[in-house]
């Protein structure tokens, strides 16, 4: 399958610095992964690491094959834990936001 899924991806809380200092990205990812399964958010994270991240410090985004602690993943304005975490299957025009938590005050 060569079809793709259009997505709106956003990085905030400082994460945008890893992605060309740009917050909003309109991307298209393959609609299925290398094993033919529908692409899910776990696949998206891997895809971002291979295709979109510009900063060499990938460990600021991904640790142990998952999004690093202190990053909240939002699927259409909801914590991804409400949507099945990395197993959530991507739908066209989903809005996926990666937020690094802030600690200053």
């Amino acid at each position: 399958m060569s079809s793709t899924i259009p997505l709106a991806v956003e990085f905030t809380g400082g994460l945008e610095l890893l992605f060309s200092n740009q917050r909003k990205h309109q991307i298209s990812v393959p609609s299925s992964d290398s094993k033919g399964a529908p692409s899910n958010v776990g696949y998206l994270v891997k895809w971002l690491c291979e295709n979109l991240i510009k900063d060499p410090r990938k460990e600021m985004f991904v640790l142990d094959h998952s999004v690093r602690p202190g990053i909240l993943v939002l699927i259409n304005d909801a914590d991804w834990e409400l949507e099945g975490e990395d197993k959530y299957e991507l739908q066209a025009n989903d809005e996926i936001v990666f937020v690094s938590t802030l600690h200053g005050g």
Partner: protein
């Protein structure tokens, strides 16, 4: 003696009249504010505006906790301090400003940093806590102590051009009660790698960005403190201000408010998860207890400071 007919002094009706005429507050809400004890941990960019609006609103007892002294570099955003008070304890500087604004509030200064040993005995003296600190270690500690003492927590943070706000442990419930609101550990079970944590000193901060978050903390605190219980008692019948039924409160769902000064839209409200079944402090299988906290056996600095082995993709 005549005053006894009225639950507030005439000066208080004058001072708080503009908020008391609203059905969301009313006389009942004002009395709840007057009886409330609120602790603000951190008297910096968040704590200054939060304290100003809580003092203005007539919170009965306002505790301020901070071990730092005022520096010139604070003053672009820490608007309760002043140039003349540089070098003084932030808690003392803020109380001076707050007393001038509203002397009828009972101010309690806690001029030290929060430690695991002190947290529980101090939090027990209050009804609600505002986390206005600036580091993950204090954020975990404050949340843990709020769960263990049953206090709701209004937690905010800010850096550079962005801010975040979450109301945690609301409603406050015993560990293991799934109807309680999530705690900080439910949302962030693992601390961020130490090298990813930037302070305002390192990353910079725009004054109004942290200011907005601090004012919003005061607002959430006032909303929590004045939320209407079932009407009972003689005080209720005197609530002449409640001419209209107030709108039913929307069910509290845990949300995070995110702010980004240069984005469109600037604000975004996102839905958070509820309590985590395996949370280390608020679940039935909690490992963190009042005992482990007060004994000092928990090392929050080590918890947050360990650099996780990097297994990158």
């Amino acid at each position: 003696v005549r005053q006894q007919r009225w639950p507030l002094a005439s000066e208080e009706y004058k001072r708080y009249g503009r908020q008391m005429i609203m059905p969301e507050i009313g006389l009942h809400g004002q009395l709840r504010l007057k009886n409330a004890k609120v602790l603000i941990v951190g008297v910096g960019g968040l704590g200054c505006p939060a304290a100003a609006y809580l003092a203005g609103a007539g919170v009965g007892t306002l505790g301020l906790m901070d071990g730092d002294t005022v520096e010139v570099s604070n003053l672009h955003r820490q608007v309760a301090h002043s140039t003349a008070r540089v070098g003084r304890l932030k808690v003392d500087s803020a109380v001076e400003y707050l007393r001038a604004l509203n002397d009828s509030v009972n101010y309690r200064a806690h001029p030290s940093h929060l430690s695991p040993e002190k947290a529980i005995p101090i939090f027990e003296q209050y009804d609600l806590v505002l986390d206005c600190t600036d580091h993950p270690t204090s954020r975990y500690l404050i949340s843990d102590a709020c769960v263990l003492t049953g206090k709701p927590l209004v937690s905010a943070s800010a850096l550079k051009t962005e801010g975040q706000l979450i109301v945690l442990n609301s409603p406050p419930r015993l560990p293991g009660d799934v109807n309680g609101g999530p705690c900080y550990r439910c949302v962030f079970p693992k601390p961020p790698p130490a090298e990813s944590v930037l302070s305002c000193g390192e990353g910079g901060i725009l004054g109004p960005v942290v200011g907005v978050m601090g004012v919003l903390q005061a607002l959430e605190a006032i909303k929590l403190l004045t939320a209407k219980p079932v009407p009972t008692g003689p005080g209720w019948s005197m609530d002449f201000t409640a001419t209209k039924p107030s709108p039913p409160a929307e069910p509290t769902r845990p949300t995070m408010l995110m702010f980004s000064a240069y984005s469109t839209p600037q604000f975004r409200s996102v839905r958070l998860r509820s309590r985590r079944a395996d949370c280390a402090v608020c679940s039935a299988q909690a490992s963190i207890t009042r005992q482990s906290l007060t004994s000092g056996s928990l090392d929050y600095v080590a918890f947050c400071g360990v650099t996780t082995p990097l297994n990158t993709l």
